[in-house]
Amino acid sequence: MAQVVGQQILRDPSLFYWILFPITVVMILTGVLRHYATLLLQSAPKPLEAKAIREQKNYLHGINLRTNANQIPLSSFTSRKNYLVQAFQSGSFLKDPDAKNKPPANPMTDPNGMDAMMNMMKGNMMMIVPQTVIMGWINAFFSGFVIMKLPFPLTIRFKSMLQSGVMTRDMDVRWVSSLSWYFLCLFGLRPVFTFILGNDNSADQTMAQVQQMNPQANTQQLFGPGQDPAKMYLAEAENLEVMVQHEFVLDGIEDRILARV
């Protein structure tokens, strides 16, 4: 049997200039625009109050003591432990000792939480609005166009990815529709943005998603809204109390040094 000849479709070369090229350019431009708009809309993080700093840092102090306990002699460790456990349990480091037994404040009414949420919403709007607009634009003007042919063969599974908007069952997977080109641009332009705008740009939506995943990383808030510091302090005090094993690193150091030479 003769070799199967690939499908031939005659395309108007102006499809390239009037669809493929404009979509790409518009995607890049919106990315750049989104980056600068996000920068403009971002409000500077509010500095913490002295009491809030004290609350967070003393909590970290307890964690430090627990993780690096073996660095200091047993007597030093015990005296620190006793002090911190007592202080943690009495809640003397709390920002607001009276609120110890109250339920945690509703994050919707907490002004600090509101700030963070407002920022998140701004970010989300910056993603959603341009995407909706561009997708509507492409759907209205270019839906149903087959605009290019990939230079390599693909399996049938890619059909839904590359030919969205074109309901032709028998067409070779290598043909790419305009709507699919939009999606490819949407997810694949990150290196281009990195090249244009530098590393930590906010043009690409995948970056924003990563940031939403771990909001702890770039905020100075240790206790997120809705968490009760009093309970965290009590838990930390318990962690410290149950630490019975203590191996001072300096024990037997003479032998370690002598064994080395």
């Binding site: 700093i53 306990a69 660095q71 040094i257």
Partner: protein
């Protein structure tokens, strides 16, 4: 010269630059100030280092210009800029009353914003240099109560306590530094030094003194374990073992057997010898030692051999 080569000049300078080194750094001022402002973090880091160098050498006009550019970029109400401005004011103050004025300014700033850590630190150092030591210590303890995870504050407090011979407190503070930075070999060596001085302060051969000397030896050994070829650590090991081997210290009080102390002493001697000869000949791997430290090690070796 380019930005990176200038930055490297500053990076390669020693932590405590000699006057001539400071001078050569501060003479870079025109070439740095003539560079076009690119607004990169490196450039502002360079400006900050240059500000300190020019203040050290008394080039106040350049310092003023550098500070002005920093303030133009980051604003006068930036905590870090405020602290740099404070350093400038302290350096250009000519008499006691002007310094008191700066101090009053710091206190006012802190009243407005108690979380301004750079200014709080400036105030503490200024208090200390105006020999209001107890005030400096109490201000520092307040700062530590606010943030007990700041290694810089703890080590500064240890220094202040050490200066007024409150050794147990100084040791406590350095232990706190170790809880934050468990692998800081220089802090281990510093603990050894303070224990050694504390041992000197109690009567010679008592049980307590021997205990302190042994603790000192162990801290030094840990420093050496963490950092190969650490001159200060080996110096301490040699010094303390020499002290422990002195005849007036009775063997009954020692917990480390004499033979081990002897061995440690010879290990330290060999290492110090290597470092001294290596760095005098400029051998590869032995460069970068402080020449004063090498000289001191040489002297110790000559005194004990």
């Amino acid at each position: 010269m380019s930005l990176t080569s200038l930055l490297n000049r500053f990076k390669s300078a020693s932590v405590h630059p000699t006057p001539s080194e400071s001078l050569s750094l501060s003479q870079l001022a025109p070439s740095i100030l003539n560079l076009s402002i690119t607004d990169t973090p490196e450039q502002w880091a360079l400006y900050e280092s240059l500000l300190l160098s020019t203040l050290r050498t008394g080039d106040d006009t350049s310092a003023r210009l550098v500070l002005q550019r920093l303030a133009d970029r980051f604003g006068n109400d930036n905590a870090r800029i405020m602290a740099l401005q404070g350093i400038y004011d302290e350096c250009t103050a000519t008499n006691q009353s002007q310094l008191e004025e700066v101090l009053k300014n710091y206190t006012d700033l802190l009243k407005d914003d108690p979380t301004n850590i750079p200014i709080a630190k400036r105030r503490i150092t200024l208090l200390h240099s105006l020999s209001k030591k107890s005030e400096a210590i109490s201000a520092l303890t307040t700062l530590i109560d606010l943030n007990p995870t700041d290694a810089e504050s703890w080590s500064q407090l240890a220094q202040y306590y050490f200066e007024i011979s409150m050794y147990p407190q100084a040791i406590y503070c350095l232990e706190e530094v170790l809880l934050i930075l468990p692998n800081a070999y220089n802090v281990h060596a510093r603990l050894g030094e303070i224990q050694f001085v504390a041992a000197e302060s109690v009567s010679g051969a008592s049980k307590e003194a021997v205990e302190k000397l042994e603790a000192s030896l162990r801290w030094y050994l840990r420093a050496v374990e963490l950092c190969d070829g650490y001159l200060r650590g080996y110096y301490g090991v040699k010094l303390v073992t020499g002290k422990l081997l002195e005849s007036k210290i009775s063997a009954t009080n020692r917990t480390i057997p004499e033979e081990k102390i002897n061995k440690l002493n010879s290990v330290a001697t060999v290492q110090l010898n290597d470092i001294v000869t290596g760095s005098e000949k400029g051998k590869k791997g032995f460069t970068g030692y402080d020449s004063a430290e090498v000289a001191a090690a040489k002297e110790l070796l000559e005194a004990t051999s």
